[in-house]
Symmetry: D2
Subunit: 337 residues, 4 copies
């Protein structure tokens, strides 16, 4: 089990400018509030409490999730010998008790409600609280909420993740982080490292969201392009493994051809080889594609290809068989009769 | 300078079944006919004659090209002390004098005309001649011509290339080869190795073409997807180098983001960083995309994304500035006002 | 000048059920509040005050617009000999003084702010006020605001228009109206008839918006389809007038070919024949297309074609020459080199 | 029964310039060759022989079709009291015996084979023969064949039709005609009027094909646009009949909304209201869309929307249920789960 390292030590060449209102971290007394114990959040919070020595207070409207979380066995706090897991009755309690708050929620509206709603986090936020939102949401909503957090004297960071439920379980997520400064990024990194193996500073507020959706938007189209190429080549009589091997050593190479080839049988460990189960659900890809289109609309950038890809995933998601399968099942949709 | 290795020695575990009509190669006496001395063909033929010890006879309707080729300095034939480069007056002469014929022509119609036209290659083809077409053409035309070559007792192979003019110059092309058998593939490989560093057997007749166009079709869409992601991310304030670095370590990774990023300045050696010069011209990508769509049409496979990408390159090619630039200039088209 | 006809007389076969909180209209004493004096709203409000005998109170953040409006010459009120035009200082005053409120605002956010903002209309709305929103906005926002109006005991109707600035000037707009009942539709029609020549009851709350955007979405794609057909046919040497004549007598016939052909010279009175000026601006079409896509997203209906059309108008709007021209200028974009 | 009117009489204001090699029509002795007795051709030829007084000689590789045709009861020739229907053994016989030749074949390749194949029509064509091709084929193939016909001293015209099998039966087809001159158009019109009610001169050779495919291409996209609008509007709760009524009185109006609305129940007589039977098959629309894209490719005109529409019909045609249904069944494909 690791402890949070004293903040100053790890900063290396990045000069440290303490934020006026920020309580320097005293690891063991810092309390982490965690809002959102879904498939992702539950596993992230579990890693946090088992790998760090901090106390954690959790909140979710789903009482089964909080009840299940409170049964995780962890050592008592070395600080005061009290239990390290508690369940908050409401968001005000999270705000009142936490030095760090992590939110992991499904959509923009949930994040906005959690912070700005009546009796939401903002109303009771303590100055200096580090507020990390790991939800994948609209960039402009992220920035809007972050600014409100700033106004309260707290420290906002957007830190969406990639890596899926398996990455959340393994603590190997990638965090793409936007924040006001390198220092504040490093403060957040202290916490995020318990849940992820790659913590990337993407720039100012909102850039974590932006990088996340740009990556996924590109992935979404590249997967369809790969599926179309595999569909065409195999229909014309080329062996799918040979086809993907050549592509992977040529300019067609991409994550979708190399790591998660959509044609069943090409890669034994890819979702396509297990009937598209246990991957990144098409509906989540559709959600991320729409976040990208929203951002593009706001910037007046026409995205012909991504826009079409989005609608294609819309069709995949309307297919009863494929709705919850890995998004590489677009291959199946393309070949459907 | 290499000599063609005795055929049998290199076959390894693939059992060698001599083709009835095939003259076993006596390296030094084999004559190679080369049809098509364009930007690609000239450099390929040059490598062939300088790296091998065979004689070569070339043909092109462009007399400047054949004249220039005949001035290349190479040692005399060790076989009979005669010059190793000659220029044919017509295709009949190529057919009459060659043991190998390589064609490197712009489009389906040219290949068809070279073989099937009045006084074309087919009319005078000797049984056993190894006929390698390295043009990128319609799969069905390729198969049709190959079957006519077979009917004459000669050996057809389709062997389109990737690697561009620079690869042709360096002799580092990739050949994607379709042929009737592994033995015949190996016979062709003996020759192709002087022009390329990767010679891949893709399967039966036509599969070389298929693999080539599937790769390029995927590449075409992935490039546009990358360009859209880079356009969106940078517009939203993310540093383009950082954005591409994160993408390259994530699921958005592809050749277009890693090797030839379309956003100027991200990769100093990419065409985008030299105003999109000296790459793979948009018009060639457009040509390959159309070959893919033709093949897909014949197989009744609807390709929503590739079809849109094709039309997008159509727009790029209609732009006077971008028509002959590298196809990653689609980034410029997307950002155009 | 018309007066509002006594309500009951015009109802024809539709049985009249007075709404409990609705003050039966006494034409001359009814005051109409009008919020939003832009290009459309100014002309609509002007028709209302000049064609009816009611008093009108207007509000706009643009003081030039309200000042200009207050200078319109109309007879005094026959009711009390007072001036029939007044300018409100704020929205509260509109709410407090009006029996009818018409809003004509650019986007969803403006309508929401006007009603729900601090000191917005809702806060001071009198029970029984007829609240007609003629803005073209998101269907779900329209329904949401309508429900809040209902909660205050007032009568909500969505009544977006088609016909453009010229229709607003001429009083010949088409109103597509959604409301809670036929009776309430008829109450609104009493007012709308002064501004439009076609008042259509589309169904329940929100249906006015839905019908409007469905029509415009179809129009948006049909215009592009027409532009593509005209571009192809004329490039192939067919006379554009002849081409459109044949299309108009065949199955290709549509409003875009018959009434507003995008090819210059085909129809002397179409925007295309006056350099695409004075029509329905591309940016307004783009706005409406996005409203459609939002609605489709909420209903999980993938719209491949409309989605692509939207992005095409995005490109048109990014073209400095075409941004504010009639949307049929997509023809020019298609033919651009 | 009509007779062909003496040629000169009907020319009205168009000055008549006799073509050097053209035998002025002597109605009763003119023989019409008809090649292609499919669903369309059979009915067209039947109208021709029953409504005119000319003799007809037919050819089809399907012997059942020619046999069935030869059993049609018509009066003997008033010219020589001989039967007016005969069946040719081969194309040479058609060429040798006909003053007019009409071809009604499925695709470009068939027309090319019928004229240019070994023992095809060209080989035995008499100078002055009027050669009308009513097939819908590639514009460039049409022009190519027409030029070969011209070279033989015969008179080429392209005259594709719209109106479907029902129009062919009723003799109410529309012919879109390209020809070398107005005079030659009028010569063809003499014959075409027995099969169609609208005979339109579109311009020079190939323009008949061009106008046909431009119309159908526009129709193809407009139908999808209509289907998307109807799908969205009805999902949002608007009555489909009301929605189409408003659209039809507004700018969304098009043939697909007014005459063949794709939403079942809106128009009792539309294919959509009889499970999409007995209309214009999706596969024929797909064929025409591809003809358009081929033409656009040759002219270097990118067609983003039409290209996508084509692939959408590709999906419809791959659906076992919808493959042979009316193309308005794209509505069903869009709503498919």
């Amino acid at each position: 089990m690791f402890k949070l390292s004293p903040l100053g030590k790890r900063l290396g060449s990045i000069p440290f400018k303490p934020q006026p209102n920020h309580p320097l971290l005293n690891d063991e007394s810092s309390v982490i509030g965690f809002v959102g114990l879904g498939n992702m959040g539950f596993n992230m919070a579990k890693n946090l409490v088992t790998k760090s020595s901090n106390s954690i207070i959790v909140y979710d409207i789903n009482k089964d999730a909080t009840s299940k979380f409170s049964q995780i066995q962890v050592p008592l706090s070395s600080n005061n010998d009290s239990p390290r897991i508690s369940v908050a009755s409401n968001l005000s309690e999270i705000a009142a008790k936490s030095n760090y708050i992590i939110t992991m929620l499904p959509e923009s509206a949930h994040v906005k409600a959690a912070y700005c709603g009546k009796d939401g986090l903002l109303a009771h936020l303590k100055p200096g609280t580090v507020c990390i939102d790991s939800s994948t949401i609209d960039t402009h909503v992220s920035i809007e909420v972050s600014n409100l957090i700033s106004d309260k004297g707290a420290i906002p960071l957007d830190a969406p993740v990639s890596g899926g439920v398996m990455g959340a379980e393994a603590g190997s997520l990638t965090f793409m982080v936007g924040g006001r400064s390198s220092d504040e990024f490093l403060i957040a990194k202290d916490i995020l490292q318990f849940m992820g193996s790659k913590i990337i500073h993407c720039g100012g507020l909102g850039t974590g969201q932006t990088v996340k959706i740009c990556n996924n938007m590109l992935l979404g189209s590249a997967m369809i392009a790969t599926a179309e190429a595999m569909a065409l080549g195999t229909k014309l009589g080329v062996d799918p493994k040979l086809l993907s091997t050549v592509i992977n050593s040529s300019s067609g190479r991409c994550w979708s051809s190399e790591v998660s080839n959509p044609c069943p049988g090409v890669l034994p460990n890819a979702p396509s080889s297990r009937d598209y189960n246990d991957g990144f659900a098409s509906k989540l890809m559709l959600k991320d594609m729409y976040l990208s289109l929203n951002a593009a609309k706001s910037q007046k950038i026409p995205l012909l290809l991504s826009s079409l890809s989005t609608q294609i995933y819309g069709h995949v998601c309307n297919d009863a068989d494929l709705a919850n399968k890995d998004f590489s099942s677009v291959f199946k949709w393309i070949n459907k009769k």
